[in-house]
Symmetry: C2
Subunit: 220 residues, 2 copies
């Protein structure tokens, strides 16, 4: 029966993508790459992995055609093949949140802490930001902000906030966001800002989630 061979081949191809997304480390790399393009070294530093290991995992992702590379001098920069890859990462994460009770527990127990999360939808946040009702802060490192950020958001990296170099009006509520639901930078920023007398809360989405909902991402 030739039909079986054809089917086996087709499913095997799809499974290649699945295999690429079957490793926690590779998923973390993919989420990083949703923020922009980075060198192997930088990815290794951000994910607490050895350079060699990052290289090996990126090789897998490249063979699955999920990422592309660009050479600049001695550096090699990796980026997502297209925004569809980011959508796939978001879809997988959402599915995991929906299905795995352990993940929900881990998130509610460790990442969230009561009032820190502002559970509002993106369109509403954007309209408030447009009117100046809230200040939206992108607390990621500046290169990631430059690669693309939420509309009306201003860049104020977490490191700067920690250093105390915050000059914001205290009468308006502040909403922070970072790389996404699994990133803890925005949470940490809320902690520092709240102690400093600001009314701060966290928005869970990152640019990948934002874009996957069809909302516009700004690059300047």
């Amino acid at each position: 029966m030739k039909t079986r061979q054809i089917k086996d081949h087709l499913y095997a191809q799809v499974a290649r993508i699945g295999k690429a997304m079957a490793s926690p480390k590779r998923l973390e790399l993919l989420e990083m790459l949703c923020q922009g393009e980075f060198s192997v070294e930088h990815l290794a530093a951000q994910t607490s992995m050895s350079v060699r290991l990052v290289s090996a995992h990126l090789k897998e992702l490249k063979m699955a055609q999920l990422v592309r590379t660009r050479r600049a001098g001695t550096y090699i920069y990796y980026r997502l093949a297209d925004t569809g890859v980011a959508d796939l990462w978001v879809a997988l994460r959402v599915a995991a949140e929906g299905h795995l009770s352990e993940l929900r527990e881990a998130k509610t127990g460790l990442v969230d802490r009561g009032e820190e999360i502002a559970a509002l939808d993106g369109a509403q946040l954007m309209s408030w930001a447009k009117l100046g009702k809230v200040i939206v802060l992108d607390v990621r490192p500046q290169p990631e902000y430059a690669a693309g950020h939420l509309p009306y958001a201003r860049s104020l990296p977490l490191d700067d906030i920690k250093r105390g170099s915050v000059a914001l009006p205290k009468n308006r509520p502040i909403v922070t966001y970072c790389r996404g639901p699994f990133c803890l930078m925005a949470k940490e920023a809320v902690g520092v800002l709240t102690r400093g007398g600001y009314r701060a809360s966290r928005f869970e989405s990152g640019v990948a989630e934002w874009r996957s909902q069809g909302l516009p991402v700004v690059k300047d």
Copy 2:
């Protein structure tokens, strides 16, 4: 650093879903389960796998909480945990088609053959079917049709078509569909019908693709 442990745990949870979808056999089982609920034995027969192997793969899917079971006598019926799982399968397949050139080649070379594919969108097909401009045929086995089918579609299993028990008007175009892009039943049906003097073409989507586009699925 505790942050690392939290992150490792979060990504590991998502990777559980990825791992579950990293096997060709499991993907084939998932696609079958998009058509309805089935016993282990039936799934084994449909996928040319041994019962034991199907059982082992279903166990993996169950541990990832992608499927649920129901006992009826000596049979145990498996079904998807919810329609979100079907959406995830569709999303993964679409991503694979977009990224893997080998998959595109395999599909255009083996599955498709020129005019057999009707490249029209679902909403248009449905409006034509409603007006009676086309006859939409669900060529899957009848239990799968009963579990949910496209609106205005009538059931005519491929086996019946092969047996020659076709009583359809020859003046109207026929559109066949089956389990999805990787299923070859609709293609085979088009071949038989065309030889019998009908104007038949294939619609690539199955109920999972249909539903994931927000279109209604009928159950009677």
